[in-house]
Symmetry: C2
Subunit: 357 residues, 2 copies
């Protein structure tokens, strides 16, 4: 966190600002360690303040010992204007994708002498690289979700609905220590797996169905995200072929992961393999996304992202092939960019025969 604040201070200087206002809840959380909400940060070259209300003062003092905690008295923006004035801030950067138009108007009017400069994705970019502690939190979430699916695999059987399986998996994650599911669990049987973001329905699982499960856990406020295919009964030749194409595409993408490669190159390694196998039109989403305090965060691992991988980045690698009325296959794992290659953070079998129930 020290490093991110130091980088933020360099950005303040380089943009000729006196300070930055951070209003996004996950950005506040990652920079300060605060786990509440309804609070904002002001960072200047030599000071750092967290502005909150009576509900959170005690918690903020406990969680953010390096920060000056300011309790709002009357209006939030009036208090904020006082903080800016005391800190000598006349040119303030703000998060334009997180401050609403109404909040911006209130701030402009309360801090009339301050020039407001919109900033986009500033803290989001700093969050792409995880600290060791954050990686440990993500790994804790992964262990929970993996254990939960292993438990569900001993229990699930044809005749159950997608919804019932999703409920059980969510419950098992909680029982294994998750604070919550990282997102609404996807369980899609048979032909329904052709929808990349299917919500679970009353569709009953039959013998012969494949089952796409996309699930994740939240632990210590950090998230994890995996996808596996289960299969009930004998596997058709076509399913096996599609599965092997997706699995090989994932392997090829992971082989490209190292510091200095671009996200577009990682995406292309998987996409090119799927295209050559004749399924190019059937892979309609990016290969992956960053995961951390938010389950979907920067970067996008996709075509057109020419940014380069750096050690400490954590993201998903999740190629898929989706064929309307037939079904779909997605395999998703999480990787960490290591100093000289890739470290796969997830640990769940993906050999198809091990996933046949």
């Amino acid at each position: 966190m020290e490093d991110r604040l130091a980088t933020l201070r360099k950005i303040i200087l380089s943009k000729n600002l006196d300070g930055i206002l951070i209003s996004s809840v996950p950005n506040v959380g990652v920079l300060s360690g605060f786990t509440g909400d309804s609070s904002m940060l002001v960072v200047t070259s030599d000071a750092q303040m967290l502005v909150t209300d009576f509900r959170f003062v005690e918690q903020a003092e406990r969680e953010c010992s390096d920060w000056t905690i300011v309790r709002r008295d009357t209006g939030f923006y009036k208090t904020l204007a006082g903080v800016l004035s005391d800190a000598g801030v006349r040119r303030l950067g703000f998060e334009s994708a997180h401050l609403t138009h109404a909040q911006h108007e209130r701030l402009s009017s309360a801090a009339a002498g301050v020039t407001l400069t919109p900033l986009l994705d500033t803290v989001e970019r700093l969050r792409e690289t995880k600290t060791d502690e954050e990686v440990a939190h993500i790994e804790a979430a992964l262990r929970i979700q993996e254990t939960a699916l292993r438990e569900v695999m001993t229990w699930v059987r044809p005749g159950m609905t997608e919804k019932r399986v999703a409920s059980e998996l969510d419950h098992r994650m909680r029982l294994n220590g998750a604070e919550a599911s990282a997102f609404e669990t996807i369980v899609a049987a048979g032909e329904r797996a052709s929808l990349p973001h299917a919500q679970p329905t009353e569709r009953v699982i039959s013998q012969g169905d494949a089952l796409l499960i996309d699930w994740g856990a939240r632990r210590f406020f950090f998230n994890s995200d995996l996808t596996r295919m289960l299969h009930f009964g004998s596997v058709s030749a076509e399913f096996r072929k599609v599965y092997e194409v997706v699995a090989e595409a994932q392997t090829r993408a992971m082989d490209v992961v190292r510091p200095g490669a671009t996200f577009a190159e990682v995406d292309a390694a998987a996409r090119e393999h799927i295209r050559r196998a004749g399924y190019g039109e059937r892979f309609g989403h990016a290969l992956g996304h960053g995961v951390g305090r938010e389950v979907h965060e920067s970067p996008v691992v996709g075509e057109g992202n020419e940014d380069r991988l750096a050690p400490g980045m954590v993201f998903t690698v999740e190629p898929g092939i989706y064929i309307p009325t037939w079904g779909g296959v997605r395999i998703e794992d999480m990787v960490l960019v290591a100093d000289n290659g890739v470290r796969v953070l997830s640990d769940f079998e993906k050999n198809l025969d091990a996933l046949v129930l």
Copy 2:
């Protein structure tokens, strides 16, 4: 929904606008029936358009048959500007509490000839009064959460943690048909009940503890929200006294609910009783809040809200007494303003002796 749109069109005229842009997901959902996201509505005096992307076109056409569905081609705001131009909109109202500063800038630049007028809470106010169908959805959610707690009451016992009870209750709601919990379930044992919004912890429930449970379900995208106190073993005289004060405060507030009363009057009926009993300083929050597509929505049932109740409004009545290091009592039910009084929508025992396990 027809009525809300008609009212919205009157507001357009009265504010001398040509149309309104709706960008808040729940506002889009309540006005159009759409259950996806990443979409916005444009309403003019004689047209209504839903702008969405390829992922949601089919769903929007199915769910919103009275709306013109526009699929974005290149940029979202460019498509939106085309819609505004085709509809002859030169003066557009927008939701300033929901459009971010960055979105506002993009819209301003894409629709350069359009004057943008900020509006606050316009659709939120229209949502305060529920349709019969919405009340039925809320009642369905209530039946689910009530059944789930009754099941948990036959299972819960001293030695379990708050977290374990919360997980079980969430799971039972899903098994009984909830799409999800309406919010993060609160389970607070003993002295922890003095925190109005305690998150469940590893605190173990002991014989002699009271247990505050604040929970809710979501069904058909509508929410419910109740609080009950369970009690393990014999009840102290002090607990019984506090409980009876809160229960009587709730009854008095419900007795005031009828069309034409003000929200402040409803709040005062409960607050005055608690004050006279000597606990005035221990009831630090508003008496209630609207519940619907969002679990916390307009109106605030509290001091200072001089708006008047109208038939069809649905809100919580939840007085509480919180005593640091000792504990707390809150009793929360949901009511509907009927044509000539109150209809209590929730149906869960609150006689203290029936809640002792």
